[in-house]
């Protein structure tokens, strides 16, 4: 899942990016409002974490412009303003959630995950695709009774495929949702990681779960 963090206070920006990456997200970061809006408009992020007080363009204006241009991205607003009025303004302008600084990092993660589930219309924090089970909270994966150890990148890929299980997912989609803006990935990186993933979840003679749709992409599970 790919996130955008727009936060100008460097220590917070850096720790958020680091923590979110370590939690398996692809994270793009900026500290400038204008740049943030440009990022948000030019990429299909799953969730944007938005500070309200920003140089260049403030958070509420970014939110307004995003919504005015019809972007349905989920936005989690981070702010030091905690009055009811501030919250109402933020939510009314189209924010999906609101977190007042200082916050617990775990709570931020939980809220981001909740927003992601909403993005993919999934209420259950445990995804089941046939006998494959993915716990979105603990990021652990089982095939049948056997737990499968995945690297963060592999997990991110599987999670994205599972969120859209039964649909054909293009390489571009995968690229946009699993990889960061400035990652120096080579062109067939998606195929390579699909290969790694298949090897891990389809081992010990279990039936294949990821199917290749020629020229279009991949499907996890049975086509819906």
């Amino acid at each position: 899942m790919r996130l955008l963090v727009i936060e100008d206070y460097r220590p917070l920006q850096q720790s958020l990016t680091k923590g979110l990456r370590e939690a398996g997200f692809a994270v793009d970061t900026t500290g400038d409002g204008q740049e943030g809006l440009w990022y948000a408009m030019s990429n299909d992020y799953d969730v944007i974490i938005l500070d309200l007080m920003l140089p260049g363009l403030d958070g509420l204006s970014i939110l307004k412009q995003l919504r005015a241009r019809g972007r349905q991205i989920h936005v989690l607003v981070l702010t030091a303003k905690d009055t009811l009025e501030d919250r109402v303004t933020g939510l009314d302008l189209g924010a999906d959630d609101y977190l007042v600084k200082p916050f617990e990092f775990k709570e931020l993660l939980a809220r981001v995950r909740a927003l992601l589930r909403r993005s993919y219309r999934e209420k259950n924090p445990v995804l089941n695709v046939q006998d494959l089970q993915i716990d979105l909270t603990t990021q652990r994966v089982w095939r049948g009774r056997e737990e499968i150890q995945l690297t963060p990148r592999e997990y991110a890929l599987l999670e994205y495929l599972a969120m859209r299980s039964g649909q054909t997912v293009s390489r571009t989609d995968i690229w946009e949702h699993v990889y960061e803006f400035n990652s120096s990935a080579f062109s067939n990186v998606v195929d390579v990681y699909i290969g790694y993933l298949r090897r891990k979840i389809e081992c010990s003679g279990k039936p294949p779960l990821i199917r290749t749709v020629r020229g279009r992409g991949y499907i996890l599970g049975a086509q819906s």
């Binding site: 206070y9 220590p11 720790s15 923590g19 370590e22 140089p55 030091a80 303003k81 916050f103 990092f105």
Partner: protein, 471 residues
């Protein structure tokens, strides 16, 4: 007497008592005098009539018979008394009404009639008139040639019982007393009612004021129909409320600003620590995280110190010493902190203060002032820009000017630079590092040092802060 109502009541009723007493006394005195004058006139005319009827025939003194027979001199309910003396004190004649008791003899009664109060028999009050006169000489028929006998001067006293008059006067006294008492009692009730009615607006004002709570200062006293005397109170109170509301709002905004400015670095601190602790890391990662935390803490400490200093100056808790300060040296040591960063951005710094110039002020405070001014300049000067500082002394005053290029503020914004938590960029830059307290502190310190501070924006983005310090 603290109650306005009691004071008004006492004033009104006391005034009534005083006025009624004075008027009653005047009425009583005038009436009494009129009655006595009337009595005196009547007494005198009776006396003159009596005197006129007295005849001296040789040595015989005679009172006209017809006069003696007048009923008023008989023994009746309220008779008139008379008695006539010779000069040697022997009684010539006395009225039948007197029975045998003498009337009062007026010693030395002169030709002028003299009036006198006295007690007649059985102690009843009486009033008498007495005078000396010479009786008429009886004309003896055909004996006019007879030599004149010596005329004997006589003293006549005529008196009358005045118990009726006294009684009437007593009635008048009672009448006046009762009328006054009734008027005063009634006026007390009327005054109580009127005063209560009159003070009602005060009560309604008081109840309106008591309804105003410290958490709802937007309320204004609304009572529309206040009397002219209380209207100014309402207006002043509403003005006071406005000022209070302003200051409460300012305080609230200030607290909110402080909370906001502390929340962001706290969030950074917390998230840095939490993310770092989330898993086991290499030593250099811990080191980097700890050094980040230290920077955040230092910035927070600076801010808290600035806030504390501001609060102390506001509360007059800071005492200033008087040090001889070598300005140029203090400027150089203040600049030292920022010189490295400024050099990286190609900023040139020019200290134009003469090396020997001294000024007497509190060196700690002046150091804070200069550091903040230079920090501000270093922060907002453009890449490869310039900062310079000058000082002049004249008339026992030192003027210091700190100038820098590359100011992006416009004229309307310049006046806000000393506002607490104000920043040029409305969407706020450098959260957690510059919270907009530095210049506010500078302004407050300079004022506390007895100086003044002004800002000036010159063409080409040259931003100048001038401070004038005593000596």
């Amino acid at each position: 007497m603290h109650s306005l109502r009691a004071r008004l009541l006492v004033g009104i009723v006391g005034g009534m008592i005083l006025l009624l007493t004075i008027f009653s006394l005047i009425i009583y005195t005038l009436t009494r005098r009129a009655l006595i004058n009337q009595l005196d006139a009547s007494l005198l005319s009776t006396a003159r009539m009596l005197a006129a009827s007295v005849e001296q025939d040789n040595n015989e003194i005679e009172l006209g018979f017809e006069v003696q027979a007048m009923p008023e001199f008989q023994k009746a309910e309220h008779p008139t008394y008379y008695q006539l003396w010779r000069q040697d004190g022997t009684v010539v004649v006395m009225s039948p009404s007197l029975s045998a008791d003498d009337l009062l003899y007026f010693e030395g009664s002169s030709a002028e009639p003299v009036f006198q109060e006295f007690k007649i028999k059985n102690g009843r009050p009486g009033r008498a008139v007495g005078f000396k006169f010479n009786p008429r000489i009886a004309e003896n028929d055909g004996k006019s040639s007879q030599p004149q006998t010596k005329i004997q001067a006589l003293t006549l006293v005529v008196a009358r019982d005045v118990s009726d008059l006294q009684h009437n006067l007593q009635m008048l006294r009672w009448l006046l007393l009762i009328a006054s008492a009734c008027t005063i009692t009634l006026s007390f009730f009327v005054a109580t009612f009127v005063v209560r009615q009159g003070l009602n607006p005060l009560n309604s004002l008081a109840s309106e004021i008591s309804a105003i709570k410290e958490n709802n200062l937007t309320v204004r006293i609304a009572t529309a129909s206040l009397p002219a005397e209380i209207l100014p109170i309402k207006i002043r109170l509403n003005e006071l409320l406005s000022r209070l509301e302003c200051s409460f709002n300012r305080e609230r905004r200030f607290t909110a600003d402080v909370a906001h400015e502390l929340r962001t670095p706290l969030a950074g601190l917390r998230s840095t620590i939490e993310v770092t602790l989330a898993r086991t890391r290499e030593a250099d990662e811990y080191q980097a995280a700890l050094s980040d935390c230290l920077t955040i803490t230092e910035n927070m400490q600076t801010m808290v110190n600035n806030l504390l200093t501001l609060a102390r100056i506001d509360a007059n808790q800071i005492t200033f010493r008087c040090d001889q300060i070598r300005l140029a040296k203090l400027v150089n040591s203040s600049w030292h902190t920022f010189s490295h960063k400024a050099l990286e951005r190609g900023i040139t710094f020019n200290n134009r203060i003469p090396a020997e110039m001294t000024c007497s002020s509190d060196s700690d405070s002046l150091s804070i002032v200069l550091s903040n001014l230079l920090a501000n300049a270093a922060e907002y000067t453009n890449q490869d820009g310039q900062i310079w500082i000058e000082a002049h002394q004249a008339n026992n005053r030192t003027e210091i000017a700190v100038a820098n290029t590359g100011c992006r503020l416009i004229n309307d914004q310049v006046s806000h630079v000393f506002d607490r938590f104000w920043r040029g960029d409305s969407s706020r830059t450098d959260t957690g590092i510059h919270c907009g307290l530095g210049l506010a502190l500078v302004e407050r310190l300079v004022r506390a040092l007895g100086g003044s501070i002004t800002v000036e924006l010159q063409d080409g983005g040259i931003f100048i802060i001038r401070l004038v310090l005593p000596a």
